[in-house]
C-alpha cells in the first residue's frame, strides 16, 4: 500500500514537472536580442507605434492625448476583465526601466521581464511576426514619451483563466512566432500591407472568430465574428464582406473612417482609424492592397436581428 501511494506521488510529481516545464515562458534567444542593442530610430519608432495601435489600449482613458500611456482601459471579455497596463516611460509604474530586449520579449513572446506570461489580450500573437528592428525603433520612441505615474489595476479574471501559468498551454496551441517572409510573387505594396496588417496592425485579432479557448479560428481568419467585447458584430473583411469595395474605398475608410456609403465606423474601429490616419497614405493603400486580396471566406453565422 505504501509503495502504491509512493508510486502515485512520484507520478504526480513527474506529471506536474512536465506541465511546469511545457508551460514555462519562452524568451527570445541571445542572438536574436543582439540586434536590439544597436539602439532604435525615434522617427521610425513613432511610425511603428501608430501602425501597431499601441495607444488604442494603453492611452489613459478619458483624455485625448495619445502619448499619455498610463493604461487603465478595461477590456471586458468572457474570460474576465483585462486592464491595459501603464507603458509610459515612468521607471516604476511604466516601462521606463525596460531594455529593448524586455520589450521584444513582451511583444513577441508574451513574457514579462519577471519571466511571467502575458495574457493574449495583448496581441503578441501578431507582434511576434514583426521585425526586431521595428521593436528597437519602437522602444526608442516610447522612451521619448512622457512618464505617467500610477500603476493600472490588476486584471479581474475568472478561474482557471486567473492562473497565468496556463497561458503556456494556450501559447503552445495558438502562438506562432515565425516571422513573415516576403512573397516575391506579390507586389511591394502587397507585402508592405501584409506586414502592417499581420505583424503590427493586428486587424485579424478582432476581425476573426475565436474558439472556446480564445484562439483565432484560422480557417475563418478575417471573416469577422462577434465583437470580443460584446458590442455588436465585427465585419467580415475578406472578399466576402468587402467584395463591392475598391482598394481606394478601403484606404479611405482607414484614413477617415467613412465607408463608401458615407457611414462612419463606430466603437473601437473609430479609434483604429485615428492610428491609421497618422500613417502615410501609401501605407493605408498598401493595407488596402493586401486586404482586398484576401479570398472570400464565410464567417460564423450572425444571430438574428433583435
Amino acid at each position: 500500500m505504501r509503495k502504491i501511494l509512493l508510486g502515485l506521488f512520484s507520478l504526480a510529481c513527474v506529471g506536474l514537472s512536465i506541465i511546469w516545464w511545457v508551460t514555462r515562458p519562452q524568451m527570445l534567444t541571445a542572438s536574436q536580442v543582439a540586434v536590439l542593442e544597436s539602439g532604435g530610430d525615434v522617427a521610425r519608432g513613432e511610425h511603428v507605434f501608430h501602425a501597431g495601435g499601441c495607444a488604442s489600449c494603453h492611452m489613459t482613458p478619458g483624455q485625448e492625448d495619445r502619448k499619455k500611456l498610463g493604461g487603465g482601459l478595461a477590456l471586458k471579455t468572457e474570460f474576465g476583465t483585462f486592464i491595459a497596463p501603464n507603458i509610459s516611460s515612468h521607471p516604476q509604474d511604466g516601462i521606463g526601466a525596460w531594455s529593448a530586449a524586455d520589450l521584444a520579449n513582451a511583444m513577441q513572446r508574451g513574457v514579462s521581464p519577471q519571466g511571467e506570461h502575458y495574457y493574449p489580450a495583448f496581441p503578441y500573437t501578431t507582434y511576434a511576426h514583426a521585425r526586431l528592428e521595428d521593436i528597437a525603433d519602437l522602444m526608442a520612441y516610447l522612451r521619448t514619451l512622457p512618464a505617467v505615474g500610477g500603476k493600472a489595476h490588476a486584471h479581474d479574471l475568472a478561474f482557471p483563466f486567473s492562473i497565468r501559468r496556463f497561458v503556456g498551454v494556450w501559447k503552445m496551441l495558438f502562438l506562432d512566432t515565425t516571422p513573415i517572409v516576403a512573397d516575391a510573387s506579390k507586389s511591394d505594396a502587397w507585402n508592405r500591407g501584409r506586414y502592417l496588417a499581420d505583424a503590427l496592425g493586428h486587424c485579424a485579432e478582432c476581425h476573426s472568430p475565436r474558439n472556446a479557448l480564445g484562439g483565432i479560428v484560422s480557417a475563418q481568419r478575417y471573416a469577422g465574428g462577434p465583437d470580443p467585447e460584446g458590442r455588436g458584430w465585427v465585419p467580415n473583411i475578406t472578399a466576402k464582406g468587402l467584395g463591392s469595395w475598391s482598394k481606394s474605398d478601403v484606404s479611405e475608410l482607414l484614413g477617415s473612417g467613412f465607408t463608401p456609403d458615407f457611414d462612419s465606423v463606430g466603437s473601437s474601429m473609430a479609434d483604429v482609424v485615428k492610428n491609421m490616419a497618422a500613417l502615410p497614405k501609401a501605407d493605408r493603400d498598401a493595407m488596402a492592397e493586401y486586404l482586398k486580396s484576401l479570398p472570400a471566406v464565410d464567417g460564423p453565422p450572425k444571430p438574428a436581428k433583435k
Partner: protein, 196 residues
C-alpha cells in the same frame, strides 16, 4: 422598421384549413364570407371586381398609415432614418472632397442644413426605454453619459451652422468640411456598436 413586432400572418391555405376544421367544409370562399353570397356569385360569373378593388385599396391605405404612425411613435426607427439621412447628405460632399465629383456649393449647403437640422432633432429620439430592440446599435453609454452625448450633438450642430456661414467656395469647403464630419467618428466611437 417593424422588426420588433413580427406580424403573425396566416396564409390563405392556413385559413382554409382552419375553416375546414371548424365547419368541416372544404368549400372555402373568401368572397362569400367577406362580401356575401351575391358578390361571390358575381365574382364567380366573372363580374366587375370593383368591390374587391375598393377593399384592397382601403386595406392598403390603412396599412400604410399605420406604418407611418408606427414610425412616428417608434424613436428607434426614426433615429435610424435620421442617421441614414446624415450619411446620404454626406455622400455628395464626400465625393467632392475626394475629387470624384465636381464641387457644388448649393449641394454642400443643403447637406450642411441637413446636418444642423438633424443635430437638433436627434437627441430627442433616445428616450429612456429605447435602449434595446429593433436592431438598435446604440450603446448603453448613450444613456449613462447623456450629458456628453447631447453635448456632442450640440457641437456637431454648431459646427454645421458655422460651416454654412464659412463655406463659400471650393477652398473654404476643403478647409472646413472635414472638421464638421469628424464628429461622426468621434461620436460613433463611444455611442455606437460595431455594425456589419
Amino acid at each position: 422598421m417593424l422588426g420588433s413586432q413580427p406580424a403573425c400572418r396566416l396564409s390563405t391555405a392556413d385559413l382554409t384549413c382552419l375553416y375546414e376544421r371548424i365547419f368541416g367544409n372544404a368549400n372555402f370562399d373568401w368572397h362569400k364570407i367577406l362580401f356575401g353570397e351575391e358578390a361571390a356569385l358575381r365574382r364567380a360569373r366573372g363580374g366587375p371586381h370593383m368591390i374587391r378593388g375598393i377593399f384592397m385599396a382601403a386595406t392598403l391605405a390603412a396599412g400604410l398609415s399605420s406604418v407611418a404612425a408606427l414610425a412616428q411613435s417608434n424613436p428607434i426607427a426614426e433615429r435610424q432614418q435620421l442617421m441614414k439621412g446624415l450619411s446620404q447628405a454626406g455622400r455628395a460632399p464626400g465625393a467632392m472632397l475626394k475629387g470624384e465629383q465636381p464641387f457644388d456649393l448649393a449641394a454642400v449647403q443643403t447637406s450642411l442644413k441637413t446636418f444642423a437640422d438633424t443635430a437638433k432633432k436627434a437627441p430627442t429620439l433616445f428616450p429612456v426605454g429605447t435602449e434595446t430592440g429593433n436592431d438598435t446599435a446604440a450603446l448603453p453609454k448613450v444613456w449613462s453619459d447623456k450629458a456628453d452625448f447631447e453635448a456632442k450633438w450640440a457641437k456637431f450642430g454648431a459646427d454645421a451652422e458655422a460651416a454654412q456661414a464659412s463655406i463659400k467656395d471650393e477652398a473654404s469647403f476643403k478647409a472646413n468640411f472635414p472638421g464638421v464630419v469628424r464628429a461622426c467618428g468621434g461620436c460613433h466611437e463611444s455611442y455606437r456598436a460595431k455594425k456589419n
